[in-house]
């Protein structure tokens, strides 16, 4: 009789861990999180202290936000209408080690019991594993659920002379009629009209959220490979002593030098006492401009911009974005890699356009003339070194933009 009195007592202490695991997994894989701006991509929604996109903030901001008893919920989907499609930016933020177990329990698992948990996301294409948990799987009983998801990757554009010969401006600068402009500019256009709408600018339908290129949600990367666009041949030596139709036209110095010591002409060393070294192209600035060509200050507006300059001889250096003075040298084999993230809605919505403008400046070459000490007879030439011009449209054309396929992944939640 007595044991039967205790039967009822025993059952009530068992916790249904499977239910908690299932609920947690539903929040992670079917909920965009809170706070979030639930709107169609490219539609402007006013934000304030409690209404913003949670993955556009830093972990320290979110930790403060949690303290103020405001509702924060870690949901990883791209939007409310795309369950099982996860956003890369939200994944990176959620699995950031800055968040403590207490905060995860408060904003994802809920309940007063201090659960042990292990949340693991495995990408099946790269075998990358993201883990957030209090420890490895326990030996005893635990609740478990497995969800299958697809992860939306970031897009990128790679521009080289091989892939985009149309941007090569050799004809423009080096053949008549010669373009004498001091700066060479190359633009990458991000226009909401063809990013958010169906990609043709005809505005018939919106691109659905798992596939849309949305600079306010995803990172945009532009890799500019300069080989092929650079003009590194040497200055025409005759440019300093003769009146040439365009002193900027030149030929191969070494080939000329092979022939200059001819009978009847002064030797090369007398004609050209100063060897004119091959100077390099120069990057003057990287700016952002809107549809009316007004400058946009992305950094102050809260976007994250990183520019790295890859030189095969040295380590990658980070370039500042300010007006580069003196201009930054750029050589053959170099890449300028630019990544933008977190673009605010103010600059990127359906009707807005943002251009990334690369400005290259001419290379000043000075021949000291007959008298090296006298600046009066110095001859200066300005050689356009980066023969690039044009605008790349960042759109859904695979020839312009690499759009990786949605990557399959497995999300597992264990609670104990």
């Amino acid at each position: 009789m007595v044991p039967s009195l205790l039967v009822g007592l025993q059952r009530s202490t068992a916790i249904d861990y499977d239910a908690v695991a299932y609920r947690t997994a539903v929040i992670l894989t079917e909920d965009p999180g809170e706070p979030s701006i639930s709107a169609l991509p490219g539609v402007y929604v006013p934000t304030d202290a409690t209404r913003f996109q949670w993955d556009s903030k830093t972990p320290s901001f979110l930790k403060n936000f949690m303290q103020g008893s405001s509702a924060l919920r870690f949901g990883l989907t791209v939007s409310r209408d795309s369950p099982n499609i996860l956003s890369q930016r939200k994944i990176n933020l959620f699995f950031d080690p800055a968040f403590t177990a207490e905060e995860i329990r408060q904003c994802l698992i809920y309940g007063e019991i201090p659960y042990g948990y292990n949340i693991t996301l495995t990408r099946l294409d790269t075998q990358e594993v993201f883990t957030n948990g209090t420890g490895p799987y326990p030996e005893g009983r635990y609740g478990y659920i497995r969800r299958y998801v697809k992860i939306k990757n970031y897009t990128s554009a790679t521009v080289t002379n091989e892939t985009h010969p149309g941007f090569n401006a050799t004809t423009q600068y080096l053949t008549p009629p010669f373009d004498n402009s001091q700066y060479q500019t190359f633009r990458v256009a991000l226009d909401g009209l063809w990013l958010y709408w169906d990609g043709t600018g005809s505005r018939k339908y919106l691109v659905s959220t798992p596939y849309v290129i949305d600079p306010t949600q995803d990172n945009i990367t532009v890799n500019l490979g300069l080989e092929g666009f650079l003009n590194n041949s040497h200055v025409n030596p005759n440019a300093f002593t003769q009146e040439l139709p365009n002193p900027k036209v030149y030929f191969d110095w070494d080939a000329w030098r092979a022939n200059c010591d001819q009978p009847g002409t002064p030797p090369c060393s007398v004609l050209y006492p100063q060897d004119i070294p091959p100077n390099y192209a120069t990057l003057r600035s990287i700016e952002f401009r809107d549809r009316s060509d007004n400058p946009i200050d992305l950094i102050t507006a809260g976007a994250k911009v990183t520019v790295s300059y890859h030189d095969p001889d040295t380590a990658d250096t980070m370039l500042p974005l300010t007006d580069l003075d003196p201009p930054s040298p750029v050589r053959v084999g170099n890449w300028i890699n630019l990544t933008i993230g977190n673009v605010p809605q103010d600059y990127m919505e359906q009707n807005k356009r943002m251009d990334i403008v690369y400005t290259f400046v001419e290379d000043p070459v000075v021949n000291p003339g007959v008298d090296p000490g006298d600046p009066a007879d110095d001859i200066s030439l300005y050689i356009p070194r980066t023969l690039i011009s044009g605008t790349l449209r960042y759109d859904y054309n695979p020839a312009n933009v690499t759009q990786p396929a949605l990557a399959p992944g497995i999300l597992e939640v264990a609670i104990w």
Partner: protein, 203 residues
């Protein structure tokens, strides 16, 4: 006359009373143990997994391509279905909970496709809509019935039949249509929605 007869009556009465009280106590005091349906949790987890796998198989990888599941149904490629559903996703070697998960024992799957056509043969004057099914992928071992199974379904929008690009029967195109598995002759060659049903059980 004083004798012990009455004592027997009293004891009998008391004994009867004690038995009645005891019975009442046993009836009222016996506990009812309500065990939660533990097997239902396993079923729910398996059903969730199956539904998720079908869902991501039916998500196109990008804007310019059809989903894997649509391609599989359009080419009737059962081998590819099994390879994706079972090998790549369900029994993936990448899962974290390797040793202690309930799906450590093998899950067997059987996939069927249901479609809808108009029967103009039986009664040419009175065409009837018919729903028919055919097997997409065979189970590794037949269903024995000893374990309960779960059923997951998904409607797939098949825009066109494709008899030439069956990836598992013809890895290097051009494909010989004779090698590709045939759909039943009654499947109409038009854009249509077909129902993929996967039945899953523990081996």
């Amino acid at each position: 006359m004083v004798n012990s007869d009455a004592q027997l009556y009293t004891m009998e009465g008391i004994a009867a009373g004690v038995i009645m009280i005891l019975t009442a106590y046993l009836v009222l005091g016996s506990p009812s143990v309500y065990t939660p349906g533990d097997t239902h949790i396993t079923d729910m987890q398996l059903e969730q997994v199956g539904a998720d796998v079908l869902k991501i198989m039916d998500t196109p990888p990008d804007l310019n391509n059809a989903s894997e599941l649509e391609k599989i149904v359009a080419t009737n490629d059962g081998a590819r279905f099994h390879q994706l559903f079972w090998e790549t996703y369900l029994m993936s070697g990448e899962i974290a909970a390797q040793k202690t998960t309930r799906t450590g024992s093998s899950i067997i799957t059987n996939a069927t496709v249901y479609y809808h056509y108009t029967d103009t043969v039986t009664d040419p004057l009175n065409p009837q809509p018919v729903i028919q099914g055919y097997q997409l992928s065979k189970p590794l071992i037949p269903y024995s019935g000893s374990e309960p199974g779960v059923r997951v379904t998904r409607y797939v929008n098949v825009t066109a039949r494709n008899t030439t690009d069956c990836s598992s029967c013809c890895p290097i195109p051009p494909c010989d249509p004779a090698l590709c598995p045939k759909m039943p002759a009654t499947v109409e060659d038009r854009p249509q929605v077909m129902l993929v049903e996967v039945f899953m059980w523990k081996a």
